[in-house]
């Protein structure tokens, strides 16, 4: 599963970058992130409750940030496992200035396995897309700004 989307922000790239590598903000932006503990430089353990509607699973996993090139780009790695299966993904984030604000390009690649992949295949991609949009919408909120998911 591969997704590519751009999001527009009113904040400058530096602000955006700083927020994105701040675990406190990350936790608030990841829908269903119940807990996040720092385990090392740019790596965290996370408890996630993700899914849709009544079909939510609990996952325990790791979040890691690398390839940091402030304020332009970094790569976010997430992996987790839980009752309904496992998830693994990485997102390459690039931030470009645009007008007074910035534009963020997110190219993500995800894999799911176990029950969710096997019975929910038709929904997985849509859920992934939704979660990603939701993440950046919340990020926008966190930055006390409005963001418009771009096409």
């Amino acid at each position: 599963m591969k997704l590519s989307a751009t999001y527009a922000f009113q904040d400058p790239g530096e602000t955006l970058f700083a927020a994105l590598v701040d675990p406190a903000i990350l936790q608030k932006c990841i829908d269903g992130c119940e807990k996040m503990e720092k385990t090392g430089e740019d790596s965290y353990n996370a408890h996630l409750k993700i899914g849709v509607a009544g079909i939510k699973g609990s996952y325990v996993g790791k979040v890691r940030v690398d390839e940091k090139k402030p304020p332009e780009s970094f790569t976010l790695h997430v992996e987790g496992k839980g009752g309904p299966g496992w998830v693994k993904g990485k997102a390459k984030i690039q931030i470009l200035p645009k007008g007074e604000g910035s534009e963020l390009l997110c190219e993500s690649e995800g894999q799911v396995g176990g029950l969710i992949a096997q019975v929910g295949s038709r929904l997985v991609e849509a859920v992934g897309k939704k979660m990603q949009d939701e993440f950046f919408r919340k990020l926008g909120q966190q930055l006390r700004n409005t963001s418009v998911p771009g096409k």
Binding site: G83, Q111, L115, Q118, V119, S121
Partner: protein, 788 residues
């Protein structure tokens, strides 16, 4: 051989049960819901097992934590590979190919998992629900590894490895050079190429697998009830694995809810459950769920073939060179390597090819193993040769019927030796074809096609003239003996017990074998009971697969009856004050030649035989005989299927408008059962042609693990079948039967494929891969439109 054709002629039959459409004696218990399948068994003290299975296609197991599960009240135990593998043998492959390389197949995963569903641990609990709860609490830590999913890419040098320790993904290479292939290609006017793909399919018997094992400590013996096609093979193979003597093991198959080859195996679960019953000294039950069934019961087909075909301008097909890649999955199960070799052997179809070169490469991938699925190797071969016939017709502008007639042997040429070294026992392929054309109203069908095409409709006619190999087979070509066993006992009362080693799973042997025995004994069918499926009563057997039961199992019963008759004649002679050679037997009566006024029937003979007061000197008491029938050859059923379809232009949906099948399975014991087998086989094949496809994603997740995602035909998908038959007796057994369990499955897919491609041919489409799902057909049409 004990029996002769002359004896077959004698089987002309008093009451004429054989050949009659009769309803089944096994049905009342099944339609009342009082029959017993494995999951219906309940034994006091019985425990329930569930397997913890890998969610990864390929991964290293870093740790297995069981503490969380162990606290559940009612949990009895959790066992991992570390606990079991060194105490148990490995799962055998009965048909290895020399030079082949496959890993040791331990019952539970060791350090690695090799496919989604690979069993990693087993939990045992007082109830099913507790066992299920425990599975969620076993915490396995995996380190995922690259999964090998595409068998063709798996052969490239830079490919990841399914089993790194083997150093290769090649499981085996098998070559069949038959005839002078190079000379045949030199002789050719034309050579063309064809790539065919047989998708992976899932058998999906409606009853999943399952077993119950019970340890009898007092006797140190084990009984295993299991939903299998092959209790006798299980009894042969299992003792070594669980380390008990064969004579301490009893296998029982109660009712079996469908097999189609998927229960023709020894599975890891059967071994583990047997072991646990011994280890825990309590009965243990395991019943497979549907998702487990789809992921961890064998799959079928999955072959890609690149073929070159040498032809003459007059339509003669001279030779085929074929490179076949068979995706065998993670392990070689019981018959895995044997399946694609059958494809090679049957490549000639019902045609007089001069030479064949088949090279089969079995490739390991991180998927469930493939093995025998209904038809097992022959549908693949038939699909290839029948597609080839249509392509030859297209290439040369010939009629699809003419090109087939051009290449068939004449009825007078039988027994016919094929280029691949088989001897087709008997046949009249032209007669079956002609009859099918009659039933299909061929000229009218051609007319309809012409009219439809003028109107711009995509109407197609397809046919396949197939031959298959059944009644497997002489022991010299079989992995574990190809004979079949039967026993007949005239009880003291004169009632008759027939015991067969050809264990049925829906085919109706209790009826068809009673028909055979009743005719040969000259008694009413109601006086006969057929026992099967318990190694304590059916001592020997090679079971039911490969359409072998009637030809081989039926013959073993006939042989036993002949032995009993011989003995009964000696007894009758004593009772009638005559000599055995003067005693005649007809319609269940023994009498002195010419003296019909004084006869002795089975009832009196039986009581004399067992009470044993008047036995002639030297004659043993009792009236019972058993026999092993060792066939001299396989049988080769054949037939013609004709299909008319139309294809919806805007959706790619295929409608079957007409379906005609004429099958020749030799003599028919019960035409009603034959019809049922044919309809069922065609329907399964229709599934393969139009909808069925086992899908793994790139990382090895199984996406067709439920009936929600794996489509099998439903009632509205089925056309009204028009069925006919011809009867060419097989000389290979006294019954003259050939076998019919797989005929429909073998004949139908190519006929449907040819019809769909014929329908699409006005658009310039020459070939398309199975299955013809709407999207695949729609895409093919769209690509052609885009190009034109």
């Amino acid at each position: 051989m004990y029996l002769t054709e002359e004896l077959a002629a004698k089987g002309k039959v008093a009451r004429g049960y054989v050949g009659r459409a009769m309803k089944r004696v096994e049905d009342p218990r099944l339609i009342k819901g009082i029959a017993s399948y494995v999951d219906d068994l309940k034994i006091p003290g019985m425990l329930y097992a569930q397997f913890v299975r890998s969610p990864h296609a390929h991964a290293e197991i870093k740790s297995i934590l069981t503490d969380g599960a162990k606290v559940l009240p009612g949990l009895v135990g959790i066992f991992t590979g570390a606990d079991l593998n060194d105490k148990l043998g490995t799962i055998p492959c009965a048909s290895p190919i020399s030079g082949g390389r496959s890993p040791q197949h331990t019952v539970l995963a060791g350090k690695r998992v090799y496919f989604v569903g690979h069993p990693v641990a087993v939990v045992v609990a007082e109830t099913r629900a507790i066992a299920r709860d425990a599975v969620d609490l076993v915490d396995v830590d995996y380190e995922p590894l690259p999964a090998v999913m595409d068998p063709e890419k798996a052969l490239q040098e830079d490919s990841a490895l399914t089993h790194p320790e083997l150093g290769t993904n090649v499981a085996f290479i098998w070559k069949l050079p038959a005839g002078d292939v190079d000379a045949a290609f030199k002789e050719a006017d034309k050579v063309f190429k064809l790539r065919t793909v047989q998708p992976r399919v899932t058998p999906m018997a409606i009853e999943p697998r399952g077993c119950v094992a019970s340890w009898h400590a007092g006797e140190s013996s084990l009984t295993l009830w299991t939903s299998t096609q092959v209790p006798h093979l299980v009894r042969t193979l299992l003792p070594d694995l669980i380390r008990i003597p064969e004579n301490k093991l009893r296998i029982v198959t109660p009712e079996v809810g469908g097999g189609f080859g998927s229960k023709l195996n020894l599975y890891a679960e059967e071994v583990v459950i047997s072991h646990l019953a011994m280890r825990l000294e309590r009965p243990v039950k395991w019943i497979e769920g549907r998702r487990e069934n789809a992921a961890t019961t064998i799959h079928g087909r999955d072959q890609v073939a690149e073929s070159e075909i040498a032809i003459r301008n007059d339509g003669t097909v001279l030779a085929i060179r074929s490179k076949i890649i068979a995706d065998v999955g993670s392990y070689c199960q019981l018959l895995t390597p044997a399946i694609p070799t059958l494809t090679g052997l049957m490549l000639c179809g019902c045609y007089k090819l001069k030479a064949v070169l088949a090279e089969v490469t079995g490739v390991h991938t991180n998927k469930m193993s493939t093995d025998a699925y209904r038809g097992a190797g022959r549908p693949e071969a038939t699909y290839m040769i029948e597609r080839i016939m249509d392509l030859v017709a297209g290439e040369l502008g010939m009629d699809q019927v003419q090109v087939r007639l051009k290449n068939m042997p004449q009825p007078t040429e039988f027994p016919f030796n094929t280029a691949t070294g088989l001897t087709y026992d008997s046949g009249n392929y032209q007669a079956a074809l002609a009859k099918a054309q009659d039933l299909a109203e061929w000229p009218k069908l051609l007319q309809e096609r012409e009219t439809a095409r003028k109107e711009g409709r995509l109407f197609g006619i397809g046919l396949s003239t197939y031959v298959e190999i059944c009644a497997l087979g002489p022991s010299k070509i079989m992995a574990a003996g190809g004979w079949e066993w039967g026993c007949v006992r005239i009880e003291i009362s004169g009632k008759v017990t027939v015991i067969t080693g050809a264990t049925p799973h829906g085919q109706g042997q209790e009826t068809s074998f009673a028909q055979i025995a009743a005719d040969w004994l000259g008694i009413p069918m109601e006086d006969i009971v057929v026992l099967r499926g318990d190694t304590a009563t059916a001592h020997f057997g090679r079971d039911t697969y490969g359409s072998r039961a009637t030809a081989l199992g039926g013959t073993a019963i006939v042989m036993s009856i002949e032995k009993i008759i011989e003995k009964a004649k000696k007894l009758a002679a004593a009772l009638l004050n005559s000599k055995p050679e003067e005693i005649e037997f007809e319609n269940g009566k023994f009498f002195v030649k010419g003296k019909l006024e004084e006869t002795i029937e089975w009832g009196r003979l039986a009581s004399e035989a067992y009470i044993a007061k008047n036995l002639p000197p030297g004659l043993e008491p009792g009236l019972e005989a058993s026999s092993f029938f060792e066939p001299s050859n396989c049988t080769f059923p054949f037939g013609t299927h004709i299909v008319a379809v139309d294809v919806e232009r805007d959706t790619g949906h295929v409608n079957i408008l007409k379906y005609v099948a004429v099958d020749d399975c030799g003599k028919q014991v019960n035409p009603l059962l034959v019809e049922g087998q044919v309809q069922g086989g065609i329907t399964q094949s229709l599934g393969t042609a139009l909808m069925e496809r086992t899908v793994y994603d790139e990382s090895g997740q199984l996406l067709t693990g439920e009936f929600m995602d794996y489509a099998i035909p439903r009632a509205p998908d089925i056309p009204e079948y028009i069925l006919g038959s011809t009867e060419t007796p097989s000389p290979s057994n006294p019954l003259g039967v050939k076998g019919v369990g797989e005929a429909g499955t073998i004949g139908a897919t190519p006929a449907i494929a040819n019809a769909v491609i014929d329908a699409l041919s006005p658009l310039g489409i020459r070939h398309l891969d199975l299955p013809f799902t709407p999207e695949r057909v729609w895409r093919a049409m769209k690509e052609k439109e885009a190009r034109s």
